[in-house]
């Protein structure tokens, strides 16, 4: 392999765009070419710098308002916190479970089918609300009630506002920057929304006390590029949502779970 080709593969490798065959070829070349190996090291460091320092520009709130105001339709104002969340019609992904339940109803009939339908619908409604709350939070000045990158400020802020103490973790090292917290409503109850950012993508992590048994994270494609990830840990329900790719949401869930202190002593 020529160095000119290897250098392109170095970048593809750093960008996770290189297939297995390419990786094998690249590794073989790097073993015998100190110049390309050094180039890989340099560019990995630049990427790390970019990830850590995030030299991005934020859209100023005033400019956002002007741009939105110029569009030929008006965006409804954010619903007040006390009200039950506005539900966006998501007919597309509600239709599938409905069709499935209809089939189940036909097959088993009677009481069992009805239970199943109620169950599916509750989960779907919750997911719709998670996404709808996320979209609403992205409107100007609505993302955080308390804006800070310190977990020691976010956590006490919730004192007296909730009947539980939400868990806030510092995930900086994993590339998820804590930006603040917010009170929100889900399932008809007050929940904590902890807000993180990765690059320009906001992640809302909703949490409230729930099931005592732990469950591993499961991610669902919620359409239009949104991913919803759900897990339970230490008696807390977690629902995370953002327009990050699924594997990044999996990484987020893994980082948060890893950062959490163990709720029970480790069995030996």
């Amino acid at each position: 392999m020529l160095c000119n080709d290897a250098i392109l593969l170095v970048h593809a490798y750093l960008d996770n765009e290189l297939d297995a065959g390419g990786s094998v070829q690249l590794v073989r070349h790097l073993a015998g070419c100190p110049a390309c190996a050094s180039s890989l090291e340099c560019h990995a460091k630049v990427k790390e710098l970019l990830r850590r320092a995030t030299p991005q520009y934020r859209l100023p709130d005033a400019a956002r308002a002007r741009v939105l105001a110029a569009l030929p339709f008006s965006i409804p104002p954010p619903a007040p916190l006390q009200a039950f969340p506005r539900r966006l019609p998501m007919h597309r992904w509600r239709a599938l479970p409905a069709a499935l339940t209809a089939t189940v109803l036909l097959l088993v009939g009677g009481g069992l089918g009805v239970t199943l339908q109620r169950h599916t619908t509750a989960a779907q409604v919750l997911m719709t609300d998670v996404l709808s709350n996320h979209l609403r939070s992205l409107q100007p000045k609505h993302l955080t009630d308390v804006a800070t990158s310190s977990q020691h400020t976010v956590k006490p802020w919730f004192d007296g506002k909730l009947d539980f103490s939400p868990r806030v973790r510092d995930l900086d090292v994993d590339g998820f920057v804590l930006v603040g917290g917010r009170l929100d409503m889900l399932n008809g109850q007050r929940v904590a929304a902890i807000v993180y950012r990765r690059q320009l993508h906001a992640i809302n992590l909703f949490q409230w006390p729930g099931s005592a048994s732990d469950s591993a994270p499961t991610s669902v494609d919620a359409g239009d590029g949104y991913t919803i990830t759900h897990w339970t840990q230490g008696g807390m329900n977690y629902w995370a949502v953002s327009n990050l790719e699924r594997r990044q949401m999996d990484a987020f869930a893994a980082a948060f779970r890893k950062a959490a202190p163990l709720s029970a002593p480790v069995a030996r």
């Binding site: 160095c3 000119n4 080709d5 250098i7 392109l8 170095v10 970048h11 593809a12 960008d15 765009e17 110049a35 050094s38 180039s39 090291e41 340099c42 560019h43 990995a44 460091k45 630049v46 990427k47 710098l49 970019l50 320092a53 995030t54 030299p55 991005q56 520009y57 934020r58 859209l59 100023p60 400019a63 956002r64 002007r66 741009v67 939105l68 110029a70 569009l71 030929p72 339709f73 965006i75 966006l88 019609p89 979209l135 992205l138 690059q199 320009l200 239009d224 590029g225 327009n243």
Partner: protein, 185 residues
Amino acid sequence: MRSLLSAAESARSLRFEQQVLPHLDAAHGLARWLTRAEHDAEDVLQEAMLRAYRYYDGCSDGNARAWLLTIVRNTFYTLHKQAAASLQDEFDETIHGAVDDAPTPEAQLLRDADAGQLRQAIEKLPLEFREVLVLREFEECSYKEIAEITGLKLGTVMSRLARARDRLARHLCTDAQGEHHHALQ
């Protein structure tokens, strides 16, 4: 008939709000990096969002973000014709190869730049390198998406990215006195 039309229009507005508006920050980011000035970025963003709304048909292929970024880039080149004229011909690169003549600096020479220094270094890059770098690093586009957005061949995207990063690395180097090299660009 009229109410039918307005019902269709408001359904379209709602889809636009759900599919396209969440990518407003991404659109602004690209406009900001291309124009290098907040005021110009807002003009580009404004015009791009109006165009997006006009041409919006439900984004049948589903990738609303790449679609919007394409509009932002096209709008930028329409409003900044001079910038467009300065673009290097894609054809050139296939002759000149993937890399600049100067070697990539060693990792130890890179200084620990903060966000402001990184911004400066990136803004010094020529437009054709800056746009692919920004699309990859900040908009987190795949190579395929970058090719779609810029209308470049995949190979050209890769070679421009390589050269953009080489130059960026050199901008971020320190010499013995702790000053940066300005030898290139």
